[in-house]
């Protein structure tokens, strides 16, 4: 007889609880509770930041002014905007049930979700970069992590996506970068407005079948309920929100570009070097749009922007070499962008 896949539908939950409920399941599964698939929908909008990411990536003034709480999760990825237009799912398994190689474990955890999307009519694929996509548009945000001896993957069905707000909650001092980020989000992040009840049913079937488990409705254990209370306190604390201790950059380290990832291979950055300002969007290694601002280009800014459009990021310095001293300063600003830090 198959082992159980506990299924818990938390329904609408407060922003805080829409995080702490499933984190508590991580502790429960680690302590021996069965593998679990859970669902929740935030009752109000909020912002959530990945475990390692800097809190300065969020525009806290905007969030405060708009009543958006900010929480730090224990799984990976960047800062994201969540609201009731998104149905979140979480699958949690004992770590020993998954391949030790994390990349393979992620595939095992994501493939049933792709199946579920297809069952409800969304022609989803798991891209090589492990994002769930339709064509070149990401349709599901995900993150994963290990909580004690359990692994949890969370993702979402995006029924409606507020691109404007999703970009607005991110700290970006450069208005050109903000515009470029919003444009890329509109192009590369898509909602799939299917029936959430059908999607939920197909998720349960897909995960039960793929994992060889028998889906059974369940509820939190006593241990997990206690963990929720502890997590409520932890996630609401200023110390937790700050994140893990990070060393300061070494003295003499150069400036870093402000980078925003929209999906794998799609990102924007803004940087300044000696008064030369750059804001650019990069799609799969190619500069798609660029805005340059500095004195000294003698009216050829537009020409430089045109010359850079469509150029591989690695060839930018070569192109800018033809634009004299301002070109060198722009090249230095470009050089602070590092896709390895995304």
């Amino acid at each position: 007889m198959a082992e159980p896949l506990r299924v818990i539908d938390f329904g609408c939950a407060s922003p805080l609880r829409s995080q702490t409920l499933w984190h508590a399941i991580g502790y429960g599964v680690s302590a021996g509770a069965p593998a679990t698939l859970s669902f929740t929908r935030p009752a109000a909008p909020y912002v959530c930041i990945g475990y390692h990411r800097g809190i300065e990536e969020v525009d806290h003034d905007y969030c405060r002014a708009n009543g958006l709480p900010v929480f730090r999760r224990m799984v990976g990825g960047g800062p994201v905007y969540l609201d009731a237009g998104q149905l979140f799912f979480q699958v949690c398994l004992p770590a020993r049930a998954l391949p030790a190689a994390r990349w393979q474990a992620l595939s095992v955890l994501l493939e049933p979700a792709v199946t579920a999307f297809r069952v409800v009519g969304v022609p989803a694929d798991l891209a090589d970069d492990l994002e769930i996509c339709v064509g070149d548009r990401k349709i599901c945000g995900h993150g994963a992590g290990q909580i004690e001896d359990a692994v949890v993957l969370c993702g979402n069905l995006i029924e409606r996506f507020d691109h404007e707000r999703a970009s607005r909650v991110l700290a970006m001092a450069d208005p050109d970068q903000r515009d470029q980020t919003l444009a890329l989000m509109r192009r590369f992040v898509a909602a799939t407005p299917v029936d959430p009840v059908l999607f939920q049913a197909s998720m349960i079937s897909a995960y039960a079948e793929a994992l060889g488990l028998a889906a059974v409705p369940g509820e939190l254990t006593g241990t997990e309920r206690s963990a929720v209370a502890e997590l409520d306190e932890r996630f609401a604390s200023a110390g937790w929100l700050l994140g893990p201790d990070r060393p300061a950059p070494a003295a003499g380290a150069g400036p870093c570009a402000r980078q925003v990832k929209v999906r794998a291979g799609v990102w924007t950055f803004a940087a300044t070097c000696d008064g030369a300002k750059v804001a650019a969007s990069v799609v799969r290694g190619t500069v798609e749009q660029v805005r340059l601002r500095a004195g000294g280009l003698n009216g050829s800014t537009l020409g430089a922007e045109r010359a850079l459009t469509g150029v591989p990021l690695r060839s930018v310095a070569q192109v800018l070499a033809g634009f004299g001293d301002p070109g060198r300063r722009f090249a230095a600003a470009f050089a602070t962008a590092d896709p390895g830090r995304l």
């Binding site: 990945g50 475990y51 390692h52 224990m74 799984v75 990976g76 990825g77 391949p99 030790a100 190689a101 994390r102 990349w103 393979q104 474990a105 992620l106 970069d129 492990l130 995900h142 993150g143 994963a144 992590g145 290990q146 692994v151 893990p244 201790d245 990070r246 060393p247 950059p249 070494a250 390895g340 995304l342």
Partner: protein, 154 residues
């Protein structure tokens, strides 16, 4: 190019001057008596995906073998860096915490993770692979396993 005590096996560098914990892909390099430097081998790194972030417990933390001494994030997956030995953390590699790519680029050198004062060297070190032939055999077998499973490229 091979350094003394280093091999390249199917494109992956392998240092033979240290010990390995086969379950976690962590290496342990004894430095001064009772002290060791710990890092991750290139297969552990490769099978994690592109390293995005590393974070470590504070200096002075007591470690227990088999429990985390930090966290690694790759492909939006945050998972534990599991200690192969017990002891006290003497130092953490801030350079790797600032730039996780350093660990991928130089896993046996500048990309080390932590240094520890060992609390049970006599009890725990014998469980690690130390013989160069055994290390090489294990490494070759793991590469074959990972290729068969499609975790690393052929």
């Amino acid at each position: 190019m091979e350094q003394a005590g280093h091999l390249v096996v199917a494109g992956f560098p392998l240092a033979l001057d240290r010990r390995y914990h086969v379950g976690t892909h962590m290496w342990v390099l004894l430095s001064e008596p009772g002290q060791a430097r710990i890092g991750m081998d290139p297969l552990g790194i490769e099978t994690s995906g592109t390293l995005a972030e590393l974070s470590f417990v504070p200096v002075g933390t007591e470690l227990i073998a088999g429990r985390p001494f930090g966290q690694l994030e790759a492909a939006k997956f945050v998972g534990p860096l599991v200690s192969p030995v017990s002891g006290i953390v003497l130092a953490v590699n801030d350079a790797a915490a600032i730039d996780a790519g350093l660990t991928a680029r130089d896993p046996y050198g500048a990309g080390w993770l932590i240094e520890v004062s060992l609390s049970d060297a006599a009890g725990e070190l014998p469980a690690l692979l130390a013989d160069p032939d055994e290390i090489t055999t294990w490494f070759v077998a793991k590469i074959a396993d990972y290729r068969r499973m499609g975790v690393i490229a052929q």
